[in-house]
């Protein structure tokens, strides 16, 4: 009878399986001569491997996991070897946290591996759990210089090598310059703010109405003061925010940027209330800098060349800004005498700017989507 019992229970039709066998998730981010890593290992797998359920009640609590942190660290590190160009890297676990994946709760090990020299070939030897679970897989996500690749470790392939394309400082900084100039062109709010401030720069206010400005030199001086003030201000806050010295909530920053555009437009319609536009440029430039910082952070800053990328990004922003000025200024200077400039371009343009910026402000401040864009 015993043998029949085995027979049927093994042959019954396919059961409804939980979706997947055991996996661990390993992320490695290569930074010049060290690696920032995160390793998510299922608590159930750790329980099978080293035993976590101290009180044997079939439930793992945070207290039980925490008291086994040393064992978890030793077990994990003894099953992963990283080496760069034949030299073993030394790994240190920085912290142990908790996270959830689709099949349960995972222990998260954040670590740092120091290798002796800049990493060109990274060898990963992964041997977690294969001895007790032959279907276990290690899913690797390898990040280097903004690019991500993936690989799977299994019992059949435990060791894999990856070539790390060491990108020169030059290409890296070119990339950030490109991103910076691209952003000021794509971020219409910055362009509109700048244009709104520049529109009246080819005119002067006399006897209560607009008149064409005289010589090119004074116009240039005017433009230069505005652009320099804006640049100084946003460079300052961009640096402070990127270096994590000041942080502002993004909703506040984005709404204030929209408000600044509205104000810049209003200032053109009521020139008496805002005579010194460079001060406006400086004041709101401070806020625009926080906006730039958000973009830069989203790009993923390489920790080992933070300053270089910050400076490159800023240079990019200035190049983009200069291109706008270069396109605007000669044209405006040429048509400044015409009848239409103060009426159509300045007044009409400012009204349009105000209208657009009001929509932005409403959307950003109240978290609404008024127009699909």
């Amino acid at each position: 009878m015993r043998i029949l019992l085995v027979i049927v229970s093994l042959v019954l039709a396919q059961p409804a399986w939980a979706h997947k066998p055991s996996d661990s998730y390993l992320s490695l981010s290569v930074q010049n001569n060290h690696i920032e890593g995160q390793w998510d290992i299922a608590l159930r797998d750790l329980a099978d491997a080293i035993g976590l359920d101290s009180d044997g009640n079939g439930q793992l609590t945070w207290g039980e996991v925490r008291s086994k942190h040393d064992e978890i660290r030793v077990y994990a590190l003894s099953h992963l070897a990283l080496s760069a160009d034949q030299q073993a890297c030394t790994t240190q676990v920085l912290e142990q946290l908790i996270d959830h994946h689709t099949d349960g709760t995972y222990s998260v090990l954040r670590f740092r591996s120091n290798c002796d020299a800049p990493i060109e070939r990274l060898a990963v030897d992964y041997r977690l759990l294969f001895d007790i679970d032959a279907q276990h897989k290690g899913l690797l996500r390898l990040t280097q210089g903004g690019q991500t690749s993936t690989a799977i470790f299994s019992r059949e392939s435990t060791a894999q090598e990856f070539s790390v394309t060491t990108r020169s400082r030059w290409t890296e900084s070119m990339q950030f310059i490109h991103e910076g100039s691209w952003h000021i062109w794509m971020g219409f709010d910055h362009v509109l703010f700048l244009l709104a401030l520049l529109l009246p720069s080819v005119l002067i206010r006399a006897e209560g109405r607009w008149q064409a400005a005289g010589d090119f030199a004074s116009v240039c001086w005017n433009v230069l003061s505005i652009v320099t003030a804006f640049t100084l201000a946003h460079s300052l806050t961009l640096s402070l925010a990127t270096l994590d010295i000041i942080q502002l909530p993004s909703r506040l920053v984005e709404s204030t940027i929209a408000a600044s555009v509205v104000l810049a437009g209003l200032g053109n319609l009521y020139p008496t209330i805002m005579s010194r536009r460079w001060m406006i440029a400086f004041g709101f430039g401070l806020i625009h800098g926080f906006g730039f910082a958000a973009v830069l952070t989203d790009l993923g800053l390489p920790q080992d060349s933070l300053l270089l990328s910050l400076v490159s990004f800023n240079i990019g922003v200035e190049i983009g800004q200069l291109a706008i000025v270069a396109a605007f200024l000669p044209l405006a200077y040429l048509i400044r005498h015409s009848w239409s400039y103060p009426r159509l371009v300045l007044t009409g343009g400012s009204l349009a700017v105000i209208a657009i910026a009001l929509i932005w402000f409403t959307e950003r401040a109240f978290n609404l989507q008024l127009f699909p864009l």
Binding site: L12, P21, L43, Q135
Partner: protein, 395 residues
């Protein structure tokens, strides 16, 4: 239109909702007492004791085939009853000293075949079984496993021959179960139900065997439209009291076909771990227009993604059904159903392919199933209805 709206709303919800962000950032729990994970068993459970002592035996002598086979068998059984594929990997690890040998001993080969069968590597499993049977032509277990794989592949004549080899090797009800399961699909459901009814009423069966026979009878009856007998046999299977993942899924499908969504809810409310069962629960929730349907749909989407990331293709049938019935995306469901049909050919596989082809308005895609139905005289009211719809369809 509705399809794309649903896809957009599900994806959008997934992005915005907590499930999408369910794993936002690793964190440090604040309370020591916070329960993070439930394990399969307590230290005091008999299963844990049994596995422990088997493991200890094996550790003392890792190359002892008998201890390894005992432990691996126990792991596979545990995996099947919990629906947890981790146990299969553990069984494989236990067998690793023999796994890669050119000719492993028959006992190890038989388990390797079972593990491969569960990974849907049917052809590899059959090769293993033939190797076992070459060495031990009287190995009943190998014949039975072989028959069930051949049946999944719709190789019914060979499957029948494999069953018949059990005549003098196992007791009569095993032979009958084996044969009736095939007969129920291939045009002899009356005969099949009669035999199964007889087995159930006259033979003393173990719990597992009772579930096995009653489930075959229930499914056969359900396919032929004998609703009352199906209901009665499902009840018979549940009466045993042993939790069985396959039975839960089969009964839920039966209830879904009857539009008894509330009953599905009460049956599966707490069965969210196994994908197949969560899928059926979500289908009932969708029909009842319950908001939690969106959480479960997003959860399933995340699971299929996770399975694909590791390169697993065991859940194609479920994924096709999910894509068609919950995401309402027939164009993506159809290739999944077709790929699945290449691997397994049970009535459920036929049904998802017909439904996908019908919704995607692609009748040529249904042809392989229609051929299979004709050449095997398949008896299944749902399949026949779908086939009729497809043949009448203008596309």
């Amino acid at each position: 239109m509705i399809r794309s709206l649903t896809v957009v709303s599900v994806v959008g919800w997934f992005v915005l909702s907590e499930v999408g962000a369910a794993y936002p950032e690793p964190y440090q729990p604040t309370e020591d007492a916070q329960v993070l994970q439930r394990l399969s068993f307590r230290a005091s459970d008999p299963v844990a004791h049994e596995l422990d002592s088997l493991r200890t035996n094996l550790r003392r002598n890792p190359r002892d085939l008998e201890s390894a086979v005992k432990l691996a068998t126990r792991y596979i059984e545990q995996g099947r009853s919990e629906g947890d594929p981790r146990f299969l990997g553990q069984a494989q690890a236990v067998l690793s000293p023999w796994w890669s040998e050119p000719t492993p001993p028959p006992a190890a080969l038989l388990l390797r075949a079972t593990i491969r069968q569960n990974a849907h590597e049917f052809n590899e499993a059959l090769i293993d079984l033939d190797q076992v049977l070459a060495a031990e032509p009287n190995n009943a277990q190998a014949w039975l496993t072989k028959a069930s794989i051949l049946q999944v592949q719709a190789r019914y004549d060979e499957a029948r021959r494999a069953c018949q080899r059990l005549t003098r090797l196992a007791s009569a009800h095993v032979l009958l179960g084996c044969l009736s399961d095939i007969a129920g699909v291939t045009g002899q459901s009356m005969k099949s139900r009669e035999l199964l009814r007889q087995v159930l009423s006259e033979t003393p069966l173990s719990g597992r065997e009772h579930i096995w026979v009653a489930t075959i009878l229930a499914e056969t009856a359900s396919r032929t439209g004998a609703i009352r007998e199906a209901e009665k046999s499902f009840a018979e299977a549940f009466k045993v009291g042993t939790k069985d993942q396959y039975l839960l899924g089969a009964y839920a499908d039966f209830l879904l076909d009857q539009c008894r969504y509330q009953d599905v809810m009460s049956l599966l409310r707490s069965e969210t771990k196994a994908d197949g069962l969560l899928l059926r629960l979500a289908l009932a929730e969708q029909a009842l227009k319950l908001p939690i349907f969106q959480n479960h749909t997003a959860e399933l989407a995340a699971r299929f993604t996770a399975a694909r990331e590791r390169g697993t293709t065991v859940h194609v049938r479920e994924e096709a059904r999910f894509t068609l019935a919950l995401l309402h995306d027939a164009r993506r469901a159809l290739p999944l159903a077709q790929a699945n049909w290449k691997v397994q050919r049970e009535p459920a596989d036929a049904r998802i392919l017909l439904e996908s082809a019908l919704t995607a308005k692609n009748s040529p895609a249904a042809q392989p199933v229609l051929d299979w139905m004709t050449s095997n005289h398949v008896e299944d009211v749902h399949l026949q209805q779908l086939a009729k719809q497809i043949q009448k369809a203008p596309f």
